[in-house]
């Protein structure tokens, strides 16, 4: 399964960790109406989207990635502020891997558009208790105990973010919002809750950049609602 928001977050942090691209500003926007959950191998999808970024000339200082589409396909547009996209032709070397997605590549003078058939996947449970127990080597009973504690802790983080960001009369300070989002991201990874981890990670990044967090907060609220309903449906008290 592919989570578009998770991939976007991974691409952003990966590009910004490259020594040759330390000053490269990466803007990634996902159409908010787009279904986030897609069928397919996320590693291949990430590799496909990383390839154009990896081929950028060092003179490029801004890369603007926009992801749009519908329930059957997605279109990823890479836009650069300088240089040409000629080196992007090398991307075709990877197209074989994505043959099942019928990739269509359109070169532009300052960018490239990649369209892939990537249908919506049926939504998975927001928390994968069995995967967490299996992958961390703990018992299901211990995993359940951790989940109960998580619910209590996570509620307080969600409340801090919901009540504080964008409200200057609240004096918690930006650091408390970064910590709350960071903790939700970490818990999401540990609990094998990738949507929570991705949504909280995007929000943390946006808060650090001092940007407009409206969309990231909305996405976090949507996934938090799903998690709370999942808890209720699985016998936990909300």
């Amino acid at each position: 399964m592919i989570l578009l928001s998770e991939i976007a977050e991974k691409i952003r942090s990966e590009i910004q960790s490259w020594p040759s691209h330390q000053n490269l500003k990466v803007e990634i926007q996902i159409d908010p109406s787009l279904n986030n959950t897609r069928k397919g191998e996320k590693d291949i999808f990430t590799e496909l989207l990383m390839m154009p970024a990896g081929l950028l000339h060092s003179s490029v200082s801004l890369i603007d990635i926009r992801i749009s589409g519908d329930d059957e396909k997605i279109c990823v547009s890479f836009n650069y502020n300088t240089a040409s996209a000629r080196s992007i032709q090398l991307w075709n070397n990877l197209a074989e891997k994505a043959a099942a997605w019928n990739p269509q590549v359109h070169m532009r003078e300052q960018g490239v558009d990649i369209t892939l058939n990537l249908p919506v996947s049926s939504a998975n449970p927001p928390v994968d208790l069995e995967a967490m127990a299996r992958e961390t080597g703990i018992s299901i009973e211990d995993a359940r105990t951790i989940l109960e504690g998580f619910l209590v802790n996570a509620k307080s983080y969600v409340r801090i973010l919901r009540d504080g960001i964008g409200k200057p009369e609240k004096k918690q300070g930006i650091d408390s919002y970064i910590r709350a989002a960071h903790s939700l991201k970490g818990a999401g990874r540990t609990l094998r809750a990738p949507e929570l981890a991705a949504a909280a990670g995007s929000l943390e990044q946006k808060i650090r950049e001092n940007g407009d967090t409206t969309e990231e907060q909305r996405r976090l609220e949507v996934i938090w609602d799903r998690i709370e309903f999942w808890f209720e449906g699985n016998g936990y008290e909300r």
Binding site: Q16, E135, T136, G137, F150, G186
Partner: protein
């Protein structure tokens, strides 16, 4: 590994609990701290066989604690755990003996504890 003791400083609940359970299963005494500054105070006062530090914590971050501990107790093994894989080289340069990236898997916990406690 029985009778060994570690200190694990981590402000996030789920990671703290999993380490506690892993230590319990290996028979290791595990002391937990949620705040970096308190973790440093505890390390200064008490003896541990291994100190594991989350990087991003209230009070003091893991790398700040590591720098101070390396002066106070140069032989004490220090392990960092971070959710940001881009800061691994920087943490290694700080003086950590190992750096792990979250989420840790069963093999990571085993390797981490066996490396420094056997």
């Amino acid at each position: 590994m029985k009778d060994k003791s570690i200190l694990y400083a981590e402000d996030e609940f789920t990671n703290r609990k999993i380490m506690e359970i892993q230590c319990r299963n290996f028979g290791i005494k595990c002391t937990l701290e949620e705040n970096g500054r308190k973790a440093l105070e505890k390390c200064s006062r008490e003896d541990f066989d291994l100190v594991i530090l989350d990087q991003y914590m209230p009070g003091l971050n893991g790398d700040e604690i590591a720098k101070k501990l390396k002066k106070l107790k140069p032989d004490l093994p220090l392990v960092a755990i971070t959710s940001d894989d881009s800061c691994v080289p920087r943490l290694k340069a700080t003086g950590f003996d190992s750096v792990y990236v979250k989420p840790l898997r069963a093999d990571d916990y085993r390797k981490l504890l066996e490396t420094y406690l056997t």
